[in-house]
């Protein structure tokens, strides 16, 4: 027989449950803070104020969020196809190569608004190509995408190290990075938007790639829920057998969606390079690809959720940095622990409180949770 289960209204499903999970994560994190002898309430205040209190903090939060939107979208879009792309990290790193090629070639002659589209294309293309190989191996040779993408992260890292200590490095330099991009390779800041609302920003790397990230989030929604290809890929994601029955090509779906995923990842490279450091340096991704997994998980693989989750993680990064600065007992590693707790409760233990909340809703208003749906007819 079918398992009867209750449905929650949308606001509880997408609002209340994540909120409860988040609160629990912060409560547990509070105990950790208590353990090292600091006041958890003051820590929370510093964290939130550091992230949202002043214009400067907001700008940094959104800068980090930009990165996480790209990597979150990258992971999420593959999840809809039933694929777990752990290679976002490496695809983003390789995307940096695209940025480097375009900026080093054109920053002397073209204005930013011409280099930017070229760099978007190049980073997306190289990210997509980097995802293509594992995708092909999965689709045609059956090698598991989780394994191959992890291995490709290492290969990407090695290639980038080779390039950054060799061909891409200016001759006289000792640092493993490209030369600084000129004006044509630097993205305009968006800090003025925050100042428009009365915030004060001294200097922060919040830049136009944030807008690109939002556009890509919308693009992902269209792709997944409004195109025929999105329909095919969701069919395959939920049930490969049904896809076969419906005449959907497995190879095509896997290869294309992994390339889209790689392209999202590759575009992440724009934000820290053209937007902030104005060069491509070693290890500039620094784990953002893996944070993308958490963002996708927490955002339920939906673009709106991903943007919100990315801002939350941006807040943890920015606020966490402030916290480490204000409270010496709380080190950088403690911040990682707090982030880990958020991932644990919001992502991995997503279903922990669900049954209790469903039961609660059911006892209040049985009709609201879909009794009519699983009722008596035929």
């Amino acid at each position: 027989m079918s398992t009867p289960y209750a449905r929650l209204p949308g606001w509880a499903d997408y609002g209340l449950i994540p909120l409860i999970n988040l609160l629990v994560a912060f409560v547990v994190a509070g105990f950790v803070v208590l353990l090292v002898g600091e006041n958890p309430f003051r820590a929370a205040v510093i964290l939130v104020e550091g992230a949202f209190g002043r214009g400067q903090g907001i700008a940094y939060t959104l800068y980090y969020a930009t990165t996480f939107i790209f990597t979150g979208l990258s992971v999420a879009v593959a999840v809809h196809c039933g694929l777990f792309n752990i290679g976002t990290e490496g695809q983003a790193y390789m995307g940096g190569l695209g940025v480097a090629i375009v900026c080093l070639s054109f920053d002397r002659m073209l204005p930013w608004w011409l280099t930017f589209p070229l760099a978007v294309f190049a980073s997306a293309a190289i990210g997509a190509l980097w995802a293509l190989i594992p995708a092909y191996l999965q689709a045609r040779r059956g090698s598991h995408i989780v394994i191959t993408t992890i291995m490709f992260n290492f290969i990407a890292a090695s290639i980038m190290v080779y390039l950054l200590v060799g061909p891409l490095k200016p001759l006289a330099s000792q640092a493993p990075q490209t030369r600084l991009f000129l004006e044509g390779g630097r993205l305009p800041k968006l800090n003025w938007v925050i100042e428009l609302f009365g915030g004060k920003v001294r200097s922060a790397p919040f830049n136009v790639s944030f807008l690109l990230a939002l556009a890509m989030a919308f693009g992902m929604w269209v792709l997944v829920w409004r195109t025929r290809f999105g329909y095919e890929m969701r069919t395959y994601g939920f049930s490969p057998k049904a896809a076969r029955y419906a005449g959907i090509s497995e190879t095509r779906v896997i290869v294309l969606i992994m390339m889209v995923s790689g392209a999202f990842a590759g575009m992440m490279a724009l934000n820290p390079t053209m937007g902030d450091q104005h060069n491509v340096a070693i290890d500039f991704v620094s784990g953002a690809g893996f944070v993308g997994i958490a963002v996708a998980l927490m955002g339920r693989s939906h673009p709106v959720g991903i943007v919100l989750a990315a801002i939350l993680f941006g807040m943890l990064y920015q606020g966490g940095a402030e916290l480490a600065f204000e409270m010496p007992a709380i080190s950088r590693d403690m911040i990682v622990i707090i982030q880990g707790l958020v991932i644990l409760f919001a992502g991995a233990l997503e279903h922990m409180f669900r049954p209790a909340i469903e039961a609660l809703f059911a006892s209040f208003s049985p009709r609201a949770v879909g009794l009519a749906a699983s009722g008596k007819d035929g």
């Binding site: 069919t235 005449g247 009794l371």
Partner: protein, 510 residues
């Protein structure tokens, strides 16, 4: 009357807002066979799961042998002398029969003593109940009927006085089912109590002493079997009068629409599943393929529909061959007018996580009417889905609802509506009423006959002999990958049963 073996008093159980069992009272007399019938989702399985300790009742009392029993886990149930044979066997396939029987009942850290004890105990059970099975056989090598016997042995070995069987004949041949019934009668004579859950009313009539009917989580009636009829039970189950056999006129077959010639299909291990099969289906007729599950029917229809590679042979659709190399595009076959209602609607025919309207275009999502360039035409898709919901009386009538939230019968209607409304020339239907309740079966059967009368060729594969007999104009019987006989719709169940079991007989009737 004999003392009650089990008494259930006021059992209620809810899952969230769904009340699966509502104040159920049931009394099963010792030494009888008690049937429980009801549609899917009527709460039979929930009730038995409560009795066996899988679920806890929200309220109510269980009494075993007159004493209140607290059954919180299956172990409690076993201790109270209750054994259960599940619909899907709980056996370790690569263990021997003996190993399976002692699993969970080992008495020592080392197995030697337990095995020796089990061996002598099994011999005794064999003698007493006619439950012959080789204790050293590997379970996966045994036919299904014998695997079921192992399940029964497991329960008896644990000292069960009360045996619950959940849909025990679903996977059995008629002969195996008869043997099972003989065993059950023997158990009854030895004073054991049997509770039989099924939706096959004829079995109830054949073997039970008492029968209880459930509907929508409530126990609506209990009857002495000898004082009731199949018609009365069906009416009690559904809550209204049901036609058990659809009316249909004479077939007037036309030209061959689908011609299968010498088709051979192997499975992934290289075992021949379909062996040189030839037949044709003409316009305006229903050809039924009868057979016990696993005799190549699934592979046959998958090969015809281009989902599975065939080794050799040809299939002609309207005189033109179908690509059997496994590279066929099912989408192209749909274009050519071949529609397919797959046997497994949960994993193949539907995507349960999709909204209803999304499933109503599965396989046809490339059609122009559902698309605007590379985009889906959401409005057109939903309008189309609403139309089908109306026409096929799919309930609840909500095309935005997740497909998983529809009942089995309504899910099947979603698939049928999708395939039939594309107006195909050939319709291939696998197990159209598996897990579908009586009311919807009637509707589905009428639809299939309407297809036939509209001049379509219908190929029906079903393990339900009744369904095959009442719908088909010609019946082909498959056994071990081959078609072992063709009969008319008036063939008796016994005759078909023998063919299905692979008993060779002289061809007398064609």
């Amino acid at each position: 009357m004999a003392q009650a073996a089990i008494e259930l008093v006021g059992i209620s159980k809810s899952f969230g807002a769904v009340r699966a069992n509502r104040g159920i009272d049931l009394e099963v007399a010792r030494g009888t066979i008690h049937g429980i019938v009801g549609e899917n989702g009527a709460g039979k399985s929930t009730l038995m799961s409560i009795l066996y300790g899988f679920y806890q009742a929200d309220s109510g009392e269980i009494r075993v042998g007159g004493r209140p029993a607290s059954i919180r886990t299956p172990n409690d149930a076993i201790a109270a002398g209750i054994g259960m044979v599940h619909q899907h066997f709980m056996l370790v396939d690569n263990f021997t029969v003996l190993e399976n029987v002692i699993l969970g009942a080992e008495s020592d850290a080392m197995l030697k003593k337990s095995i020796a004890r089990a061996r002598s105990e099994l011999e005794r059970l064999e003698r007493e109940y006619g439950l012959e099975v080789d204790p050293d056989a590997i379970v996966e090598e045994l036919p299904v009927g014998l695997q079921q016997r192992v399940e029964i042995l497991k329960a008896l070995y644990r000292g069960a006085e009360i045996l619950i069987l959940d849909e025990p004949t679903g996977v059995l041949t008629p002969a195996e089912a008869d043997h099972l019934f003989r065993i059950l009668r023997q158990l009854k004579e030895q004073g054991k109590t049997v509770v039989l859950i099924t939706h096959k009313l004829r079995e109830i009539m054949a073997i039970t002493d008492t029968v209880s009917v459930m509907r929508q989580g409530a126990m609506v009636a209990t009857r002495e079997t000898k004082n009731t009829t199949v018609e009365e039970l069906a009416e009690l189950m559904v809550g209204r009068r049901v036609l058990l056999r659809v009316e249909k006129g004479e077939a007037s077959p036309g030209a061959a629409k689908l011609a299968v010639d010498n088709l051979t299909v192997r499975d992934s291990r290289g075992v021949t599943m379909v062996d040189r099969v030839s037949f044709e289906v003409r316009a305006g007729e229903i050809v039924g393929i009868a057979g016990i599950a696993g005799n190549g029917q699934s592979e046959l229809i998958e090969a015809i529909c281009g989902i599975r590679r065939a080794v050799s042979g040809t299939v002609l659709l309207d005189g033109r061959p179908i690509d059997l190399t496994g590279a066929a595009d099912p989408g192209e076959l749909r274009e050519r007018g071949l529609a397919h209602v797959p046997e497994d609607r949960h994993h193949v025919g539907l995507v349960l996580a999709f909204e209803e309207n999304e499933n109503s275009i599965l396989g046809y999502h490339d059609r122009e009417r559902y698309a605007k360039g590379m985009f889906l035409d959401i409005d057109a898709i939903r309008d189309d889905a609403r139309e089908k919901i109306e026409k096929y009386d799919i309930r609840p009538a909500d095309c935005r609802l997740k497909t998983a939230n529809f009942s089995g019968g309504n899910q099947q209607k979603i698939v049928l509506a999708r395939e039939i409304e594309q107006n195909p020339g050939v319709l291939i239907v696998g197990q159209p009423t598996r897990g579908v309740d009586v009311g919807a079966i009637e509707f589905i059967h009428k639809r299939l006959i309407a297809m036939r009368d509209a001049g379509k060729a219908v190929l029906l594969v079903s393990v339900e002999l009744n369904e095959i007999r009442s719908l088909s104009d010609r019946i082909l019987v498959m056994f071990e990958g081959r078609i072992v006989g063709e009969r008319g719709p008036d063939a008796t169940e016994g005759e078909l049963g023998l063919l299905m079991a692979g008993v060779e007989r002289r061809e007398t009737a064609a």
